[in-house]
Symmetry: C2
Subunit: 266 residues, 2 copies
């Protein structure tokens, strides 16, 4: 999504040129290109698929809507398995229209995980609950903190349900470092994603994630937290940013790789 | 601020007509009208001033900037005392430009409170740290949760430093009800403010606070939390909303009073 202006073949080629060893994919472009075709494209290039984004949206009260959500998540699990990634990221969903019950919504997510977790594990896929920044609590994700995500995940085995640690969503939370340690101790850090926090936020607050190094987040510090918690998996950079999308995708990818080296690795 | 399109005399008249017994004031309109003149206007009308907003912005590293902030906060304390309110709301301030250290910023706030708390208490004014929604953490307020606000406030006597409980900022936080109980037990709920959470958020995310009843927050529930914690003071409605500001101020105030009765009192 960081360079969604690139087609999948262009993306793969640019990753190879830059030495980027793996890529997190989103379902829409994958399905447009074809799930099998994408799997072959990436596999032939020697790239790993770090995660598939995203399942989730599991908070519906309406029975039909809930059934559709579960079916869609099973499809996402199958796509993840076909792509060869072991991790499906979940954006849990917001409040149903007119509803004000965050607790009830979280319980419905737990119910859905009870169905989806074993199904995913049966295909070698782990679900990774992503706490989203509290500014998305009403309309996208009632799971706003790592603590809440772990409270949900820990009801299930770690090979079924874990968490996504994304700096953009948790950087403000002084409780997050302890929760990263908790997640690591339980083997539940299923992926680690980076985006920087920049202001002013754009209307709708969806597409204002900052390029690494442009904002307020100390990336090296968060990397040290997940590493101290035992995480040794891929680090993904996931930027939703209209300004970056308007630029040449290969240039943005090269810039992102350079920023990654500068602000995360060194 | 909910009806900032009204002049102070218009506001006072509208409050009297609607039976609104008290009003929270902001410094800018008060200073434009004159602090003494405002105090007389409100006092003669028999209205109480519930709080003065706002002091704060105490995170500067630069020595001169810090000295200016402290002087400005002392002036705010004096204005509060003149207006006859016992509570000055604090918006603590964001990260200095280029700085990424939230912890350090919070410590500088604590240092400043050590100077300002005794000064305020000497004039019968309590400081009320307002945790702001985490979406303001970088540019307005590094204090993002009630727990963080109380961690700061509890370093000082309750008649010097407490907290502002504002539904808009904390509604997403499943830890907030317990923190309200903690604040109440310590006599530190210095004011209780309401605004509803509506989406999509506007660019800059400052002026999208929803009219009571329009959004995702269960106002009665939050009222029950503060009352169970022993709070029996005024309840303020504080809406920053371009749409409301563009309407007739008396009509907005009447609507707000009606919504308050409907969603908070009944």
């Amino acid at each position: 999504m960081t360079v969604k202006q690139l087609s999948l073949p262009e993306l793969v080629e640019a990753c190879l040129e830059l030495g980027v060893p793996g890529v997190g994919l989103w379902r829409d472009p994958v399905r447009s290109y074809g799930v099998e075709a994408t799997a072959k494209l990436v596999r032939d290039a020697g790239l790993s698929v770090t995660t598939l984004c995203r399942g989730g949206f599991l908070t519906a009260i309406d029975r039909d809507e809930r059934a559709r959500a579960l079916a869609d998540n099973r499809a996402a699990v199958e796509e993840a398995a076909t792509l060869g990634t072991d991790t499906l990221v979940l954006v849990s969903g917001g409040l149903p229209v007119g509803n004000k019950d965050l607790y009830g919504a979280r319980e419905r997510i737990a119910d859905a995980l009870g169905e989806l977790g074993p199904y995913a594990a049966g295909q070698g896929v782990r679900l990774a609950i992503e706490p989203l920044h509290p500014m998305y609590a009403s309309d996208r994700c009632v799971v706003s903190t790592l603590a809440q995500a772990l409270d949900l995940a820990e009801r299930f085995p770690a090979d079924q349900v874990g968490v996504t640690v994304d700096t953009y969503h948790i950087w403000w939370d002084d409780n997050a470092p302890a929760q990263i340690a908790r997640a690591g101790a339980g083997g539940r850090i299923h992926t680690f994603q980076l985006a920087d926090w920049t202001t002013p936020l754009p209307a709708g607050v969806l597409n204002g994630r900052g390029q690494i190094g442009d904002g307020s987040i100390d990336m090296r510090q968060w990397r040290s937290y997940v590493e101290a918690a035992g995480y040794a998996g891929p680090i993904e950079v996931e930027l939703f940013n209209e300004t970056l999308w308007a630029r040449d995708g290969r240039e943005v990818l090269a810039e992102t790789a350079a920023r990654f080296v500068q602000h995360v690795i060194r």
